[in-house]
Symmetry: C2
């Protein structure tokens, strides 16, 4: 008998305890699945989304009416083939697409959490994903995969639940957020909090802090692209004419592009969720655990397959090499590919043939080994 | 007889015509000089300041009670020796330290320009500097020197007034602003303009847009530093304790540092000036002139000495190499040093021994050649 589940919400009856020491009552995790779970429940792949992602990783996103954020990779006949795999993707704790977060209603008062929502960590997110997997009756995941913040979750899975996953595929990520990345996030948060409409997080019945969130998104967006790609795609091309406008409207195409990124983001994302999720990323540091990275992954049976992209300056290859060095020293099974591309951090979301071909090869190898 | 001038203001009696086609009435340029002009008026060095700089390049800045922004380089016995040279530095047109800009009073109405101030260009700035030099009785400058936007002015001088300068020393700069740099500037401007206190530039008698300007400064500040320097200086060090705060105050030292950069900047800089000066930088592109760079510098007699810094990702060495290639192909006199440092773009303001030693050598060579 095959378990068939589609868009659902897992409600926690017990209090959910967080790393901060605080607890959440009536916590919910929204998730979406694709394909069918096989009889032995050995074909499940958990997909972890990035900062601005959601559970709609494939097919159509019913909220935006656009394709899922990893539709290029996941679906029938694709690299992550939903004819073969049961794909699960859940909105992270703290998010704004159905999982409990700062925009959710508090169970008792039925008012929005806002800043009363407790600060969360990547580890908190992953613990709830693990409960979701258990709820779905899955004892061991075929693989956990994700890029950027999704990759942090993958590493956290490998660190904390190594017996519950076969393979870990961290992409364009790091074992800890760097000073520069914290800096970019903090500026985004300052932009939101400087917006008077933010109103200390209490804006849900009023005007939302569009200006601040839009600026935060624009800042982040630059870090997702490479200098080369920006120059190739936009250069110094003007938007409307052959002449400068000599005003503060849009002169250059790059300006128009960024403004569009900002203004479309505020339509789909909650400003407080942006604060909470960026903070969770900033807090992430597997090497801060006692004994460092070597201890965290000691004697792991997880099969790792890392991907980085040459022009990704947000999560440069050097960070991944640090963790690989640690894994190699403990004789772990590690594959690693640095994909040559000028598309920057965003490359993990795009149709990058070398990335997709290598990932396909790794997955096929695991299919043979795991006999699914 | 030696001409001795200190802090002064040059007032233009005629209308000043701008690249935009607009004109400014009663325009003023504030400047500061150091050292004495020699009899033959051959020992004058024009120092051009960067985006947030001013005319106080050496000694003490009377407004901030801090040392001048290039005091490490300029002064008695220093690399730019004010016992030998007559150093001139003027606040750029559009600035907020005495030169006419958006915070200045309109001559007729005695109200502040705000957004009624015309959009300016690097070329506009340099044309007024040239008039200042003429006013000071100088026919030919010993050298023009500047970093970042100051370097753009140096290149503009070499392009437009090559007979009026002996040497040009462009540092950590480019012949045109890149797509990524325009993007960072535009986000800074968006942050300012998203601040309701900005009020379409009309805030001088009210609350100023501190939040927006502070965020703009923080964004820019990251681009002035290298990832390596940030990691070395701050890493993931916490500000106040060994534990995360689990709130949205300051956790990391890098956050505290950036906030300080933002909040101290708003005390000394005008938000509208920030809009105008960044726009001028974005518009800068010497290669857009008819015939490109090759034509711009054809048959120049200017002696060039370029400096770049290995970890400067705002104005990477590759951009300077493009202009050097063009100069070399026209048989120009070009020196070029790429200084190895992890201090990023900001290195041009710091005590970088290799930079200072090479610059000293170049200047001494020119002293011999020019017989001053």
């Amino acid at each position: 008998m095959k378990l068939k589940i589609e868009s659902e919400v897992l409600k926690f009856k017990k209090l959910v305890r967080l790393d901060s020491g605080k607890r959440i009552n009536s916590c919910e995790i929204a998730f979406k699945t694709y394909g069918n779970l096989n009889k032995n429940k050995t074909n499940a792949i958990l997909v972890c989304h990035a900062l601005s992602g959601d559970q709609y990783c494939a097919g159509m996103n019913p909220h935006t009416n656009k394709k899922g954020w990893w539709n290029v990779l996941i679906g029938p006949g694709k690299v992550i083939d939903t004819n073969i795999f049961f794909v699960i993707c859940s909105n992270v704790l703290g998010g704004c697409m159905g999982s409990t977060g700062p925009s959710s209603l508090k169970p008792k008062t039925k008012t929005r959490y806002g800043l009363q929502f407790p600060v969360i960590t990547i580890s908190d997110m992953v613990r709830l994903q693990e409960k979701l997997i258990t709820y779905l009756g899955i004892k061991k995941l075929f693989a956990v995969i994700g890029g950027s913040m999704g990759g942090m979750q993958v590493l956290e899975w490998a660190a904390k639940f190594n017996n519950k996953i076969n393979a870990a595929i961290p992409i364009a990520t790091s074992y800890r957020h760097s000073a520069q990345n914290i800096a970019f996030h903090e500026i985004g948060r300052q932009a939101i909090m400087a917006d008077p409409f933010w109103n200390r997080g209490n804006y849900y019945k009023k005007k939302i802090p569009k200006g601040g969130l839009s600026v935060a998104r624009m800042i982040a967006h630059i870090t997702y692209l490479s200098e080369t790609a920006l120059q190739r795609k936009f250069g110094r091309n003007l938007q409307n004419s052959d002449f400068f406008s000599f005003d503060f409207d849009t002169d250059f195409q790059i300006e128009s592009y960024l403004k569009h990124q900002g203004s479309s983001f505020v339509e789909r994302f909650d400003a407080n969720s942006y604060l909470y999720i960026t903070k969770a990323m900033d807090y992430f540091d597997l090497s801060a655990n006692k004994g460092g990275l070597a201890k965290v992954f000691k004697n792991t049976n997880v099969k790792f397959c890392f991907f980085t992209f040459t022009s990704d300056w947000l999560f440069p290859t050097s960070e991944t090499k640090t963790i690989i060095k640690s894994l190699n020293s403990s004789n772990s099974m590690v594959s690693f590919v640095e994909v040559k591309t000028d598309k920057g951090h965003d490359a993990f979301l795009l149709d990058e043939p070398e990335f997709h071909a290598t990932l396909k090869g790794f997955i096929e190898g695991q299919i043979t080994q795991q006999k699914i």
